[in-house]
């Protein structure tokens, strides 16, 4: 199975003509919300959290086997603000962009609903190298799962709605230099809608 997935990903990436007929592409837009990036304590608890951010996701997949499974790649880009909160007071910490790349496997659940699981990576790129990102952004492995719903609107095109949950561990070089240990588990939930080339 891993060999089949790798082959499909490679073919999808290079856009080989024989597989174009079986290829499925999608583009979705939506929003993502994330749990806290860190919790600190100086004289009272301080949390750092991203605001709900707009996101764009795009990618493609190829069939794997004969049971309706598909393997593919999905990239997403998110851009929003992040802030710290102490004693109920928020402080804007600037703009934070994230990008995620996931290799996924999907399959049918019922009718137009499909499951989706993936593994990949996420990169944090702050607009300004300061504060917890004083030594620059950071990257981490990521695991994702979710569901897609497709509604045909054309012979070859579907409207696609997706819900995803992904999880990764967060830390930065600056936080490590300041004596923070371990890392923070960050869960993200995204809801997106878009179009996809139909699976017909």
């Amino acid at each position: 199975m891993p060999k089949a997935i790798l082959s499909c990903l490679l073919l999808l990436a290079v856009g080989a003509p024989p597989v174009q007929a079986q290829a499925n592409y999608f583009l979705r837009v939506g929003a993502v919300g994330a749990s806290k990036l860190l919790k600190d304590f100086i004289t009272s608890p301080i949390t750092v959290k991203q605001s709900i951010a707009p996101m764009v996701a795009f990618g493609g997949s190829l069939p794997v086997g004969t049971k309706g499974y598909r393997a593919g790649l999905e990239a997403s880009i998110e851009s929003g603000s992040f802030h710290s909160t102490e004693n109920g007071v928020d402080t804007d910490l600037g703009t934070l962009r994230t990008g995620a790349l996931t290799a996924f496997l999907e399959g049918p659940v019922v009718d137009r609903l499909r499951w989706n699981v993936g593994l990949g990576g996420i990169a944090y790129r702050p607009a300004e190298d300061s504060g917890i990102f004083a030594q620059g952004g950071t990257t981490s492995f990521l695991a994702a799962a979710g569901a897609d719903y497709r509604h045909p609107i054309h012979e070859k095109w579907d409207v696609m709605a997706s819900a995803r949950y992904d999880y990764h561990r967060f830390n930065t070089d600056e936080l490590e230099a300041r004596g923070f240990s371990h890392s923070q588990g960050v869960g993200r939930v995204s809801l997106t809608v878009g179009i996809a080339r139909g699976l017909r």
Binding site: D40, E86, I132, A134, R169, E174, L175, G179, F180, S183
Partner: protein, 221 residues
């Protein structure tokens, strides 16, 4: 239970334990005293502590255009800003001294007047002083805060330039709320500053300053 199942369960448990833990904050115990203790208005001792709250940011800083002070001041602002994790302090240079929160003069400090607490730094090549003026009841910091940096030797000498740079950082540290000197010569807030940048202890201390309740509120008379 098969060996494979057991391994899977153990693996999932290990992954779960790893996934559920939170990031751990540092201890932050290596600090020095930053508060100023003065004879109390009603007897005893009053504690003076202060920081620039979010509503006062960015702190407006004016530097006299002499001895390269504007450049040293701008660099010092950036150095102190980078000491904070949560953007507790931001400063900006202004050209109008009448609207500034902090004034930096290129001369020696004038004679001390009542109600002003002066923090000195002294190096062979230059001297520094920051005047902290408080109200009679010890509840208000009267702004602008005045800083005096006096090049004792010619300003074109590298040693003097180094002294001006680190003394500006040191005096701005006082203006930001560190109202005492560090007892450790490795810190920029040591009375006779020797190092060229804030140490971990300096950064930890200024961070603490901005999270402890202040006793002074800034007021422009």
């Amino acid at each position: 239970m098969s060996a494979v199942t057991r391994r899977l369960i153990l693996g999932a448990a290990a992954l779960g334990a790893l996934a559920c833990g939170d990031i751990a904050s540092p201890e932050r115990t290596d600090l020095y005293e930053w508060r100023l203790f003065v004879p109390g208005t009603g007897g005893g001792t009053d504690t003076l502590s202060f920081f620039w709250s979010q509503s006062h940011l960015p702190v407006r800083i004016w530097a006299e255009d002499a001895a390269g002070l504007p450049g040293y001041a701008e660099r010092a602002i950036g150095i102190w800003e980078s000491g904070f994790l949560y953007r507790e302090f931001r400063g900006e240079m202004v050209s109008d001294s009448s609207t500034a929160d902090v004034l930096i003069f290129a001369n020696s400090a004038p004679n001390l007047v009542l109600g002003v607490h002066r923090l000195h730094s002294m190096a062979p090549e230059c001297s520094g002083a920051t005047d902290i003026e408080v109200s009679d009841d010890h509840t208000q910091l009267l702004i602008p805060v005045r800083v005096f940096i006096d090049p004792v030797l010619p300003v074109d000498q590298p040693a003097t330039q180094t002294c001006l740079a680190l003394t500006t950082i040191h005096e701005l540290g006082h203006a930001l709320g560190i109202f005492q000197h560090s007892p450790n010569p490795d810190d920029i807030m040591f009375a006779n500053p020797l190092v060229e940048a804030p140490s971990e202890r300096d950064r930890g201390t200024i961070e603490a300053v901005y999270h402890f309740p202040p006793t002074l509120e800034p007021v422009r008379p």
